[in-house]
Point group: C2
Chain length 479, copies 2
């Protein structure tokens, strides 16, 4: 199915030279030029600013036209009103792609901004220049040395994000990186006067560097095309979609943000049913699903064995799992008999949830001895452990050591299990317990075990993982 | 309506002397005797243990019968099988209340435990002894020097918790304390062979030390009595109820935990509609609602003005608020004009949400200049600020200072506003940002501003606060 001809969007992601129009002279150290230089962009960088001779050690040019070599890509960091003139310059220079970082166009809800946007779009179209934006952050593509934020990780990964939000994209990168996961490409495309979500999605569908696609959208111009692009992606990889502006108030906010017509909730319901795209309501939810998709083999079913603090905490955990679409069936009698030998305390449940422990060292002990019994129970498709570190909050002298030890035992035991496993670590609000949890979390993530801050977050993410695989199986019955 | 006669449960909460039966000799430092001594229990404490002469510096007695003075209250920390004999001792001694901490009764799901429980209950009933438990933590009542956990705060407050879970009660105390709120009475009553939720609720309904009642229940024996007790409480104070075991899996887990018959979801739906009790699904949700009830005057309506990072983050915040039952209407044109002067950045929304700032110092600036305009808008009933500290995650040298400064400006500006306000601080997963957020949070909580970790948590809690007041108003139309 793959064609020999390069995809028309290759030039978006592989620019050999970039002009920064409106390169900052007041704060060059945090400007676009320094950002790309420090991030290791390997191509030619041309600062453009009529009032500077040099920026961040590079010769500056008064206009794009004055740049000696060819320019593949230009970033506009200029007042909106100057955009038409500079777009003319780019056309004259033969620039292939322009990223208009600048805001102040149609999203302002005023005639002036709308007119300006139409004008810039027309100049670009007539001149054969592709446009990302305006009102957006552009590209973060660590493998190519491209970034819109100086603090982002340089480590490349396999997740791509197509985003109609810029601030949200920044936050999303942190959320995902904090889960130990890295990015192939992040595209913040804003008002989309030319390149729109379907363009990027179609590209990512065939992108071998992308294993998972996430998408934040407020509105789409061509619903049919968007639907087809999502379907094409879903043929080979999971797609998570956060459709913002689905509520009445949210639709108003989206109109003000990117001038989007958001569409009705029922249309989008049908979209999710028809495509099998994974729906999410917050950026955290997307990041949580990605963690499950990348770190958990898909469970064979929805039946979870819950291991952790029991009593009411266990009952709440059970209700929470079922509300998220999971099942918590009782273990087989044989499993319970085995667990009763390991969990000697009176009052501790072995039914499912099984009460692993009252203290953290007991939890480690249970992971070592009891997880295999839970794993072997045919009533169970996967395991969810939860450790209420917050209950021991800053009140135990060797807390961090004990929590990390429990994580290490869990990580090594997980290697020996046959079923998928995920962990919840409750951190609480004390710096000591939080520090212990962050440390334990890192060990578990490194060992390939997904870690969630709450049972609710874990149950929702895993339920979506299962739903995705069920849907993918239904749409490919012949495989 | 208050009677002169003391409530029959006074003797539960005001014991002048306590016997600890089965006082620990192996770990006296963390046993019940040391726990109560260190917590400042002012009455007589009698360790009972036939194998010790002295425990934690107090003379120990072989049996309850051997104690010289009168004993109001006894705590059983003994194997379940010894409970009948010791209950006989308590009857003989004239003990008024026994708290059976011990587990291993009907909750084990075995004939032996059930029989033992019936036997102990009969002895107590015949002998006129009131029983808390078995299989429970008993009382935490800081004003009376009673606690079941050595690490709990000694500071008394006005929240009471009636709980069928012990581990959950420990966690709940931390959750609420972490929000800067303290307790009047916490009662973990377990299997409830005598004193049950309705007994405690009836007492708390008339308890002047209790302003808010929370309740975790798995099942009730006498549904009518429970309903009436909740109604009686609701006549004078809010009641939040976490009904656990409402899902099929959860009902099974609850049966195994406290041998409760949980009742159908539709029955409990009707219960919440009929009473006006505030429903919650997790302990965190209860704590969040309590924070709103205690720290926010009730907004006049559901219309929220959102102040924080804009763009897609603002659109998601808007959707999240509406999903929780709130409304995010556009500000009046006059308000927008005022906000436009304060928020000069192109692309920043002033519609609602208003984009306060791109950086943390800008947020402080906006709180100072812009909150008054939002507050004055008649379209808005209350304000929700959110600060994405996680976006600046450990990447800014003076982060903590800046975040704390923003909190201080918010706290002092809030004094000048006419409408209720709540704040969301996103902490992220880096110790630096978390430390900054914990510090800022404490300042805000001390200033009486409720702080939530996510917009979702804030929106849900405030929506429940409004619902409670609406329901209370409906049931008292004549006031």
């Amino acid at each position: 199915l793959s064609s020999e001809k390069p995809h028309p969007l290759e030039e978006v992601f592989q620019p050999k030279s970039i002009a920064i129009v409106g390169a900052s002279t007041s704060e060059p150290a945090i400007g676009w030029v320094a950002r790309l230089l420090n991030f290791g962009y390997p191509g030619h960088l041309y600062p453009v600013n009529p009032r500077a001779a040099e920026i961040s050690g590079l010769k500056a040019y008064p206009t794009v036209r004055d740049i000696p070599g060819p320019v593949d890509y230009a970033i506009f960091n200029i007042p909106a009103r100057l955009a038409p003139q500079i777009m003319e310059d780019c056309v004259a220079k033969g620039v292939k792609v322009v990223h208009i970082y600048t805001a102040g166009f149609s999203e302002m809800g005023k005639e002036e901004g709308k007119k300006l946007e139409v004008q810039v779009a027309a100049i670009a179209k007539d001149g054969g220049v592709r446009v990302i934006g305006p009102n957006c952050m552009g590209l973060y593509y660590p493998a190519a040395g491209l970034t819109f934020n100086p603090t982002f990780s340089k480590e490349p990964g396999t997740v791509s994000f197509v985003s109609q939000t810029g601030a949200g994209a920044v936050r999303f990168v942190y959320l995902v990186n904090d889960r130990g996961i890295h990015f192939s490409k992040v595209i913040s495309y804003g008002n989309a006067i030319d390149l729109d979500a379907p363009d990027f999605l179609e590209y990512l569908a065939g992108d071998v560097e992308t294993e998972i696609i996430a998408c934040y959208i407020e509105g789409v111009r061509d619903g049919r095309r968007f639907l087809e692009a999502i379907k094409k992606c879903l043929m080979t990889k999971p797609v998570i979609v956060l459709k913002a502006g689905l509520t009445e108030s949210g639709a108003g906010a989206a109109a003000s943000h990117t001038a989007s017509l958001t569409g009705s909730a029922s249309v989008w319901d049908a979209f999710f049913k028809q495509t099998g795209a994974i729906p999410a309501n917050t950026l955290e939810e997307i990041a949580d699903v990605i963690l499950a998709l990348l770190r958990m083999p898909c469970p064979k079913g929805r039946r979870v064995g819950i291991v952790g603090r029991g009593g009411g905490i266990g009952v709440i955990a059970t209700d929470t799992c079922e509300r998220a679409g999971l099942k918590v069936p009782p273990f087989l009698p044989e499993t319970r008999r085995q667990l009763e030998e390991i969990v000697p305390e009176a009052g501790a449940s072995v039914r499912n949830p099984v009460e692993s422990a009252r203290g953290i060292s007991d939890a480690a002990d249970f992971y070592d001895k009891g997880l295999k019994s839970v794993d072997a129970d045919p009533q169970i498709d996967f395991i969810l452990t939860h450790l209420a570190v917050d209950i021991y909050g800053g009140r135990q002298p060797d807390l961090q050591q004990q929590v990390v030890k429990a994580a290490e035992v869990l990580a090594s035991t997980a290697q020996t299990l046959t079923k998928p496993i995920a962990a919840v670590l409750y951190a609480g609000e004390h710096l000591e317990t939080i520090a212990a949890v962050l440390e334990a979390r890192e060990r578990l993530l490194k060992a390939g075990i997904p870690v969630y801050p709450t049972i609710e977050a874990a149950a929702k993410a895993i339920s979506k993982l299962i739903e995705y695989h069920e849907s993918a199986k239904r749409s490919k019955p012949a495989d």
